[in-house]
């Protein structure tokens, strides 16, 4: 007879915070990317991935549209576009 006493790891994935985006979303142009990883490092959701140049992208299921990736990109290769 127990109440819930622990949570299994990494289960927050069930919560799709992409629905939080209201006005804008990042667009990864994948043209001038130098794979500096800054967008990956700075994303508060940890929902940006990529390896080589011009492969970085984000998971819109979780992206809240904060825009720090576009702000941090030294090549302006990420731009914020209107949420469709």
């Amino acid at each position: 007879m127990f109440g819930p006493i622990f949570i299994k790891p990494l289960t927050s994935r069930n919560n799709k915070t992409g629905s939080w985006r209201i006005t804008q979303r990042p667009k990864f142009l994948q043209k001038n990317c130098i794979a500096c990883k800054m967008c990956f490092l700075i994303c508060p959701e940890g929902c940006i991935e990529g390896e080589e140049k011009n492969t970085y992208h984000c998971d819109y299921d979780y992206c809240k549209g904060c825009g720090n990736c576009a702000e941090v990109c030294p090549k302006q290769d990420i731009v914020m576009v209107k949420e469709s």
């Binding site: 819930p4 949570i7 299994k8 790891p9 990494l10 289960t11 927050s12 994935r13 069930n14 919560n15 799709k16 915070t17 939080w20 800054m38 490092l41 700075i42 994303c43 508060p44 959701e45 940890g46 929902c47 991935e49 390896e51 998971d59 299921d61 979780y62 809240k64 549209g65 904060c66 825009g67 720090n68 576009a70 702000e71 941090v72 914020m80």
Partner: protein, 292 residues
């Protein structure tokens, strides 16, 4: 390079949350052989709401002020089991949980010499309860308990020097870091965890809600805090200053004007001068000036 996710998306931090950025960088640098004790605060709330957790490592939250003591207990248990050598222990808290209510437990952990890393996510007020002043709220900042008014220019006191106080305990490693310099932050976490004994890292993490800035400016504001000299990045190993981030100082106004919490000061030269003096003193004290 296969990245091991240890802080999963789907957490409920505000868009642009600086603490979420730092928490992920810390845990993914520390790696999966890590146990975390977390004080009460935003991070605990937005990452552990039943039935969903963002954590990919063993993680425990007990109370607002006791993570350092809980971590001490975890360390003793692992020692008893003969398992301490391979496992990192992190005790983490916000600025209130570190500098105010959790300070006694933290000091006890330092003094007893537990092999734990204490992390302070410094967003400079009690954000989880609605932006009240803490011991790490900077001078002049408006919070909900240090409002600007006819007789007030916001918070009348200066940041409590927790890194220096930690240092005075004679612990092996003390550093400040910022999400404005993520690689530097990762390097410091790695360095700290390579040393045996108590460690302290204080990380500057802007809070869009509490600081009243655009969520997209979290990174830029964190960087400006360092570049103005208001948040010096330094590193002490065994009591010796081993590194500082050199800067070509920008005027503090560039940092202040992006944030609603300093709105009442913008245009008031006398008050800005007082804040510039804090930066100037930091620059002198830590020798931050880059050689031109």
């Amino acid at each position: 390079m296969q990245r091991k996710v240890l802080f999963a998306p789907g957490h409920t931090a505000c868009a642009g949350c600086g603490q979420a950025i730092a928490a992920r960088l810390v845990i993914e640098t520390a790696g999966s052989n890590t146990i975390v004790a977390n004080n009460t605060g935003c991070l605990e709330v937005f990452s552990s709401r039943y039935p969903e957790s963002s954590w990919g490592v063993p993680w425990i939250h007990s109370l607002f002020e006791n993570a350092a003591a809980v971590a001490s207990g975890i360390e003793l248990a692992l020692k008893y089991l003969g398992k301490k050598e391979n496992i990192n222990i992190i005790a983490q808290a916000g600025d209130g949980g570190t500098a105010d209510i959790g300070f006694q437990a933290l000091s006890g952990m330092f003094e007893r010499g537990h092999d734990c890393l204490a992390i302070c996510y410094d967003n400079e007020a009690y954000m989880n309860t609605g932006v009240q002043r803490s011991g790490l709220t900077p001078f002049g900042s408006e919070t909900t308990t240090t409002p600007a008014g006819r007789f007030s220019f916001g918070n009348p006191t200066y940041k409590k020097p927790i890194p220096e106080i930690a240092l005075a305990h004679g612990i092996v490693y003390v550093a400040t870091a910022s999400i404005g310099f993520p690689q530097d932050l990762q390097r410091k976490v790695k360095k700290a965890l390579s040393l045996k004994g108590p460690k302290y890292i204080q990380i500057h993490v802007p809070c869009p809600l509490g600081w009243r800035h655009e969520p997209s400016l979290t990174y830029r504001i964190a960087k400006l805090a360092v570049e103005t000299g208001l948040y010096p990045l330094f590193e002490y190993e065994n009591g010796t200053l081993t590194s500082v981030r050199k800067i070509t100082p920008k005027p503090v106004e560039e940092y202040l004007k992006l944030q609603g919490r300093f709105k009442h000061i913008i245009g008031n030269l006398e008050e800005i001068k007082k804040i510039q003096l804090i930066a100037d003193n930091n620059i002198k004290r830590y020798n931050l000036l880059a050689e031109s």
